[in-house]
C-alpha cells in the first residue's frame, strides 16, 4: 500500500460476495473501506486463479499488495466452503489445518496441492522478514558469526536410524 495507504484489515462478505479492505489514508488521516465484488465465483472455481486476478487487477492492486497471499486464499476458501454448504466452524478448522506447518510432517510425501498451500503459508513469513534491493537497510553481503552455546534437542534420542550416516 506504499506511502499513501496503510492496511488495517482485510475480510470477506458472503452475500453478495465481496472482499473488503480497511485502510488508513495517511494524507487525509482517515480510515476508509474498499469493497471489491467477487464475480462469477462458484463452488468449483479455482481459488488461486481468483486470488491472482485480484492481485493483478489494476483497480484493486494497490489496496491488496500488503495483504498476504495466503490470507486472500483462505478468505476465498471460506466463501467457497459456504457455497458448498459447510458450516463456518468446520471450514475455519480445515483451512487452519491446511495452511499450518507441522514441523514433523514430511512434505516430500504430500500431494502437490498440499505442498503448495504449505509453501504459500511459508511465503508469508519469508516476505515478512525479507530485505530486498531498494529497502533502506538492504545489503548484498550480510555476515554474522554465531556461537552456539547448547546442543540442539533434535540430536537427542532417536539416533538409531542414523547409525551409518
Amino acid at each position: 500500500m506504499s506511502r499513501q495507504y496503510s492496511l488495517r484489515k482485510c475480510g470477506i462478505r458472503f452475500d453478495p460476495p465481496a472482499l473488503f479492505v480497511t485502510y488508513t489514508d495517511k494524507s487525509a488521516g482517515k480510515t476508509r473501506c474498499r469493497t471489491m465484488p467477487i464475480r462469477n465465483f462458484t463452488k468449483t472455481s479455482t481459488v488461486t486463479r481468483f486470488v491472482e486476478d485480484f492481485r493483478k487487477n489494476p483497480r484493486h492492486k494497490k489496496y491488496l499488495e500488503d495483504v498476504p497471499k495466503s490470507q486472500l486464499e483462505k478468505l476465498l476458501r471460506l466463501l467457497q466452503d459456504n457455497l458448498r454448504g459447510m458450516s463456518l466452524d468446520q471450514s475455519l478448522n480445515e483451512i487452519r489445518k491446511e495452511y499450518s506447518i507441522d514441523p514433523n510432517e514430511d512434505l516430500n510425501k504430500v500431494d502437490e496441492e498440499t505442498l503448495r498451500k504449505k509453501k504459500t503459508a511459508m511465503e508469508d513469513s519469508f516476505e515478512k522478514n525479507r530485505k530486498k534491493p531498494g529497502d533502506p537497510d538492504f545489503e548484498y553481503e550480510v555476515e554474522r558469526d554465531f556461537q552456539p552455546v547448547e546442543t540442539c534437542e533434535w540430536d537427542s534420542g532417536d539416533s538409531g536410524s542414523d547409525a551409518d550416516f
Binding site: E105, E139, T151
Partner: protein
C-alpha cells in the same frame, strides 16, 4: 536424444571454459531455490531443462584469478520422489545440503540425503546450511547441530529472507568446488576425464587404431548415460 547431449552441460571436458557444478539437496520447501535466488539476485540466467525436472542457474565469477563458470543445479521439486535421478549427481563438484530450522523432519532427513550423495559422489565437498533462522528470532543460532560435526562438514546459519550468511556460504561452496576439481583423486572423476579427452582426440585427429578403440568406448559410454537420463526424465520406465 541427439539434442540432449547438446543441452546438458559437460563439466569434465577441457574445452576452454572452466566449469563447475554445484548441486543443492534437501527436503521439499526448505528454501533451496530461495537461497540460490538470494545469492544471484538479478544477475542470473535460469535455464529450465524441462525434460530433466531441474533448474540450472549459471553464474560467472573469478576464483584465484581464474574465470569460472558455475552452474547451480536446483531440484525443481524432484526431491518429492524421495530420491534424485543419478544425472543430478553426475559430475557435481560440490553439494549444498539444506534444512529448515523450523521443521525438525527436514533435519532428520539429512542423513538420507547425505547417504544418497555419497553413493554417487563419495568425495565431493559438502556444506550444510540451516535456513530460515530469521523465522525463529535467531534463537536457534545458540544451538549446535551435531550432523555437520559428526561428518566434519562446514556448517552455516543462513536466511534467504534477510540474506544472513548467504553470500559467504555460496562463495565458499564455489571455492570448494574449484578446489575439488583441481585436486580430485576420485577414481570415477579421473576415468571420466581421461575418456572425455580421448573422445576429443578421436574426433579431432586421425588416430591410430589403438586410441580409436578407446575413443569408441568413450563414445559408447556417453550414449549409455544419455539413454539412462532420458528414460528417467520422461518417467516412462
Amino acid at each position: 536424444m541427439a539434442d540432449l547431449r547438446a543441452s546438458v552441460p559437460e563439466y569434465d571436458k577441457e574445452d576452454g571454459e572452466y566449469k563447475v557444478k554445484v548441486i543443492c539437496l534437501g527436503d521439499s520447501a526448505v528454501g533451496k531455490s530461495k537461497l540460490v535466488e538470494r545469492f544471484l539476485m538479478d544477475g542470473y540466467q535460469p535455464q529450465q531443462l524441462s525434460t530433466y525436472a531441474l533448474t540450472l542457474f549459471r553464474y560467472q565469477t573469478e576464483v584465484g584469478g581464474k574465470d569460472v563458470c558455475v552452474d547451480f543445479w536446483d531440484t525443481a521439486g524432484q526431491e518429492r520422489f524421495n530420491n534424485m535421478h543419478p544425472s543430478y549427481y553426475y559430475q557435481a563438484h560440490c553439494c549444498i545440503l539444506v534444512f529448515d530450522v523450523t521443521r525438525k523432519v527436514t533435519y532428520k532427513n539429512l542423513p538420507n540425503w547425505f547417504k544418497e550423495l555419497r553413493q554417487y559422489r563419495p568425495e565431493i565437498p559438502c556444506l550444510v546450511c540451516a535456513n530460515k533462522i530469521d523465522d525463529v528470532d535467531y534463537k536457534v543460532t545458540q544451538k549446535s547441530f551435531n550432523f555437520a560435526k559428526k561428518h566434519q562438514l562446514p556448517f552455516y546459519f543462513v536466511s534467504a529472507s534477510d540474506g544472513t550468511n548467504v553470500v559467504k556460504m555460496f562463495r565458499e561452496a564455489i571455492q570448494s568446488a574449484v578446489g575439488y576439481k583441481e585436486n580430485t583423486t576420485d577414481f570415477t572423476d579421473l576415468v571420466m576425464r581421461e575418456l572425455e579427452n580421448l573422445d576429443d582426440l578421436s574426433l579431432s585427429n586421425d588416430v591410430d587404431s589403438g586410441v580409436d578403440t578407446a575413443g569408441n568406448s568413450a563414445e559408447t559410454h556417453t550414449d549409455e548415460a544419455d539413454e539412462e537420463q532420458a528414460e528417467g526424465a520422461t518417467g516412462t520406465t
